[in-house]
């Protein structure tokens, strides 16, 4: 039998390359830079492939009175036009709760909501035909804002509350009260590859689906449901996405479903690729939130009690909003002990596109409110915001704060009852404030601002504590499939999807580590529902935690067979067998080490009929949450980080620039430092974009006006601070047993971008000698910053008039 050339026996024995902890490059890097990495739109089209475009509602809220699609059907190149009446099976494709019709039957609930789909022999012809539809509507009054939904008590899901102790009493007894509110706008994912799906009918009456999806299993299930066929007739494959960020968790499925319905009727392959405009108008975004808080503090600014309300603008359907608003609630403490706390979360229904998962999943909208609290407290008591933040951190004990039994309050329990066990932030922040020279720069900035007419500098350090686990418990599982072939090469497959985050390379490194073989002997393969079934979405930062563990389990099952075989072969015990440096090493009964190359040994095992493949499975331990009581341990562990941002603001125009950023992130024992740093840098910039330039603008009748990159501005190259210092917290393995004690990194650093917003407020606050905390809704566009400047200036004018 052939063997891998790489593992030539004459080669000197050396440690395997590319194990965990090494900064291996992304598995597709070379293919990506040469244009050889295949995205769905790049795949060769099968003969007869049809292209889809969809016609959507013209009104935010309306009944359809009549539909005349005859002109659409007659348009050049058009082969098939479908409405909801052409759906063979389920018409509702809501992922968790109903509410998402695949095509509208009668009541339209947002502008752009799909009503019919056209399939033509080219993308251009399908797009052109859509405009020919004649649809009559009866307009209804839309609800477009959180305010109006709250007024009408118009919700997609019931209100939920976390309660710890008696917040009212604590507020009544507190020496000072601080309160504030904040409107946080949503965010468009702007993955560079738009939503796309390609579907081909199979000979069994099923469908082969290529989808740019973070959740192939859900696509599989929904395609089966709309076609009214069993799940086993549908196979979904995802090799890679051109970015996801949560936007392809549920939002990819409608494309696959519509394409599958057309493929079912025409028995032809069908491709549905959304134009950027359609993608921005028809698919969900990050939720807007309107939050307010009221905290009681002591003289030191330490919170004694808190009442927080978070209100998510969910759009027209539940989608994932229940869990998203939950996560906003879970994170409205961020890193701070709220003590006696009541946190209430509202799921507002609006006649706008249903908002969905986006990196952080509601967490960022909760975290920013906690950070606003800290800044506002600091301005009220006249302390530096960092001082106030540090005093309020979990685990920081204050002698004056005691429990009813008289003992000092450990201040380590969240408002939902989970104990913060691994206290990382106090040490992390103190390292960062030193390396970023926070206090020295604070003084320099005060001096600068005193001597500068209209350019003002701002500085802020904000931490992040982010809970890791799906808050929907059953999703915290994963499967993997590992094959070892007779030449010693290995193939690994798992339920996680690759969207650029480096999951495939991390899992491959886990396999390399397990077998102690070179990484280049391991082939990653596309995620397919016929290889690993019933998978969870690649979301909640869980990709490597779950799939890494599942792959490890598969490897260990294969290894146990190999170890047994080796022990039998050399008549020794299993504990005398180990994997090392691309070899299997056995200490035989004469205490002699026998080194056999991995391929040689694998061939031997194969001839001895030892299984060389295995599945693996993982379920996250320890987690539980009781939704009735709002208490439990929803998170296996927390990931932490902190960032320091410095900004320069032009108070004549509101324009600004982020001039320096320092980050320290807790990733446990990193599986791949280069990949992790890439996630952190990218997340910071994406978070900064959310809070600065990325402005979703809606018309008064519910139309999205910022519907393309000309009007919706994600950060460009010049927005990245040149002085951008990102470090991983060293020597801090996860206290929980995660894959090699690493920590999740996808979402947590997104919230580091909040320090940019806080620094903008700091710069504006300097106009009032830091005695005033300027309101600054997000995104803090130049216009918004100039408004904050004006409000601050009138505060100063008013107070100086009063003192005169």
């Amino acid at each position: 039998m052939r063997k891998l050339v790489e593992l030539n026996e004459n080669k000197r024995i050396r440690p395997a390359k590319g194990k965990t902890g090494e900064s291996m490059k992304h598995e597709s890097a070379e293919k990506q830079v040469t244009g050889k990495a295949i995205y769905i739109d790049d795949m060769p089209e099968l003969p007869g492939t049809l292209h889809v475009a969809v016609g959507g509602s013209r009104y935010a809220h309306a009944f359809i009175k009549s539909i005349d699609l005859s002109a659409v059907e007659k348009a050049p190149g058009v082969v098939k036009v479908i409405t909801v009446n052409d759906v063979p099976g389920h018409t509702d494709i809501g992922p968790v709760f109903p509410g998402d019709p695949v095509l509208v039957e009668s009541e339209c609930e947002y502008i752009g909501q799909p009503i019919f789909a056209v399939a033509a022999d080219s993308h251009e012809k399908a797009k052109a035909a859509v405009g020919l539809a004649q649809i009559q509507y009866k307009e209804l009054e839309p609800t477009l804002t959180i305010d109006k939904a709250m007024e009408e008590q118009f919700f997609v899901r019931p209100t939920h509350q976390h309660k710890r102790g008696d917040a009212k009493k604590a507020l009544a007894e507190a020496s000072q009260i601080v309160s504030g509110d904040l409107y946080v706008k949503g965010q468009e994912h702007f993955y560079l590859e738009g939503q796309i799906s390609m579907v081909a009918p199979t000979e069994d009456g099923g469908m082969n689906v290529y989808s740019s999806s973070q959740h192939p299993t859900e696509v599989q299930k929904l395609v089966a449901e709309v076609l009214n066929i069993s799940i086993n007739k549908v196979n979904v494959e995802v090799r890679r996405m051109g970015g996801g960020f949560g936007g392809k968790e549920t939002q990819a499925a409608p494309l696959a479903c519509i394409a599958a319905i057309i493929a079912h009727h025409t028995q032809r392959p069908v491709k549905y690729r959304m134009s950027r405009h359609d993608d921005m108008v028809m698919t969900g975004k990050r939720h807007d939130f309107y939050n307010d808080y009221k905290v009681g503090i002591n003289e030191q600014g330490v919170i004694q009690g808190a009442e927080v309300n978070v209100r998510g603008r969910c759009g027209n359907s539940p989608d994932l909003s229940d869990a998203i608003v939950d996560r906003a609630m879970f994170h409205s403490d961020n890193a701070y002990y709220l003590n006696q706390a009541t946190v209430t979360g509202y799921r507002c229904k609006t006649h706008t596109v249903s908002n969905t998962a986006y990196r952080g999943f509601g967490g960022p909208q909760g975290v920013i409110t906690a950070e606003q609290m800290m800044d506002d407290i600091a301005r009220q008591i006249g302390e530096d915001p960092l001082t106030v933040r540090k005093r309020n951190l979990y685990g920081i004990k204050h002698d004056s704060m005691r429990l009813s039994d008289g003992s000092v309050d450990p201040r380590n329990q969240t408002h939902y009852g989970q104990t913060v066990e691994q206290e990382v932030l106090p040490a992390l922040i103190s390292q960062l404030e030193e390396s970023a020279e926070y206090w020295q720069r604070r003084e320099e900035i005060k001096q600068f601002n005193a001597h500068s007419a209209f350019l003002k500098k701002g500085l802020a350090l904000t931490p992040v504590k982010f809970g890791i686990s799906f808050t929907v418990q059953f999703l915290n599982q994963a499967g993997a499939l590992v094959h070892v072939y007779t030449d010693g090469s290995i193939q690994v497959n798992h339920g996680g999807t690759e969207m650029g985050q480096g999951l495939y390379i991390k899992v491959a490194q886990v396999v390399a580590e397990e077998f102690q073989v070179d990484l280049d002997t391991i082939q990653v393969s596309a995620t397919r529902t016929d290889k690993v079934s019933n998978t969870s979405p690649t979301a909640a930062s869980s990709g490597s935690d779950l799939n890494g563990m599942a792959a490890q389990d598969a490897c260990r099952r294969i290894k146990s067979g190999l170890v047994k075989h080796a022990a039998d072969l050399h008549k020794t015990s299993e504990d005398k067998v180990r994997f090392e440096s691309n070899h299997i090493v056995v200490i035989n009964d004469e205490d002699k080490e026998i080194w056999t190359t991995f391929p040689d040994f694998v061939q031997n095992a194969y001839m001895a009929r030892v299984p060389l493949f295995s599945s693996g499975h993982y379920q996250t331990p320890k987690i539980h949450y009781n939704r009735e009581t709002g208490q439990g341990r929803p998170f296996f562990y927390y990931a932490h980080g902190a960032s320091v941002s410095e900004v320069l603001v032009d108070t004549l125009t509101g324009e600004y620039k982020v001039t320096r950023v320092d980050i320290l992130q807790d990733v446990g024992r990193s599986l791949n430092p280069a990949i992790d740093i890439g996630q952190i840098e990218g997340a910071y910039i994406q978070g900064m974009g959310w809070l600065t330039t990325e402005d979703l603008v809606w018309s008064d009748n519910g139309r999205l006006l910022s519907n393309g990159p000309a009007t919706y501005k994600i950060p460009a190259v010049g927005d990245t601070p040149i002085d951008f210092r990102v470090k991983l917290m060293e020597q801090l393995p996860n206290s929980e047993e995660t894959i090699y004690r690493s920590k999740a990194v996808g979402e947590p650093p997104f919230m580091l971008g909040i320090s940019a917003w806080s620094a903008l407020r700091d710069a504006v606050s300097s106009l009032a000698d830091y005695r005033f905390s300027p309101p600054m809704n997000t995104p803090a566009t130049p216009e918004c910053v100039l408004n904050a400047v004006n409000i601050t200036k009138s505060f100063v004018a008013k107070t100086s008039a009063n003192t005169k």
């Binding site: 597709s28 990506q32 040469t34 060769p44 052109a128 994912h189 560079l192 620039k657 393309g708 130049p782």
Partner: protein, 494 residues
Amino acid sequence: MIELYINGKKVEEHNVVPDMTVLRYLRTTKNLPGTKEGCGSGDCGACSVLAGDMVNGEWRYKTINSCITFLSQLHNKSLITVEGLSQGSQLHPAQQAMVDKHGSQCGFCTPGIVMSLTALFENAPPNADFSLHEVYDALSGNLCRCTGYKPIIDAANAMKNYPGTIDVSIWTPSTERPVDEGGSDHSEGQAWTPKTEEALKQLLNDYPDARLVAGATDLALEVTQMHRRIHKLVAINQIASLKTITETRDYLVIGGAATFTEIEPFLKGSFPEFAALMSRFASRQIKNSATMGGNIASASPIGDAPPVLIALNAEIEISSLSGSRWVALDTFYIDYKKTILGTGEYIRAIRIPHRKATEQLKVYKISKRIEDDISAVLMAINITQQGDKIAAVRTGFGGMAAIPKAGAAIEAALLNQPMNVNTFRQAGLKVSEDFQPFNDVRASANYRIQVTQGLLEKCALEMLNPQATSRVENVCTAKLHSDNVIAPSAQECV
């Protein structure tokens, strides 16, 4: 016939639809899917390719957005796509640097980034160190949503560490290039690429409904975004006489089809403040295609060149088969997207009078994002100072009205007044006399007025403190010291 080279290979097309974009052509006809569509509107750069022109016997390459370039514009040009860069397993330095610096994550923007880095690398001397400005400039039209750009900037700076691996034959196809007019005839319409103004005038006379295209960075959006068809298309980007830029005794004269990249060095010499706007004007890809003539003719209220040109008292030459005439630019615009340009007419040239020594130009752009964004407000002021008095003033505003125009009341408030902050604050009170701007996706009307007032004050402060750093867009690090900025005392009114 449209004849071009794609990765060194000659391609001839006789009957493509006139509105065929280069991106669609590459992906659907040439089986070259490495070039991606991210937006179809020239904003993200995923579709970037290199377009080569023969200049003085040498091929010169520039990045363009293939999604908003029509195939007929590339007649006689050489196109390099991402598929053409590597040789076997040997990667181009731009590619290798991107791999080694972890510059790709999802990889969808990567081919476009690689092309922009390649242009930066190939147009510089070997082993060149790039300034921050050069790196920003090269990448200004490439959006990346994953990396936050840091590793891409690192890759730009690392390219010099790799040996060049250029396959010369691909980059330098046969130099005996034809000078024929180009064109294509399809049942759905025709495209022409004339080489002379005579041919252009005749075409416009014969086909009065033909659409004129220079850079296509605006017109192509009708096809890719509004899904309209163009049945007759005349590309003027290869008419040499429309691309000349000359300095005469009295004027800088710019051909109507000269691109901003071609114009930029001349602006640097004569109107450095105008040249400085270029870094915020548009991405490099757009500037490589877009023309000043097109920016004027498209008559957008948010075009950035017209307000500056109005403040500089520029004139334009309008030509047709029946002759030529010069008109002042501020008389060119009638109403929203309406101009005096008649059927069969085109903008032949723009001339900007040279500045007198006493004239000072100030140009300000306000937008949500500093790079590659559309102005909420653009303000240009051309001031002649005599002693401490303002002896003459001319303004131009964009984003404030349905057309680019001067602010008469603002000018009147400044004229013959002392050169101080108070004067400009008083002029600020006149902004709403001149303009009643709209609320739109970029800004509210209120902000537009307020920020214009702020800009007027800033203009005074800058003129009185010419050495000071005063704009955030020019600040890259946190090192700015208070000695280098304008002191609070400067804001006190006299």
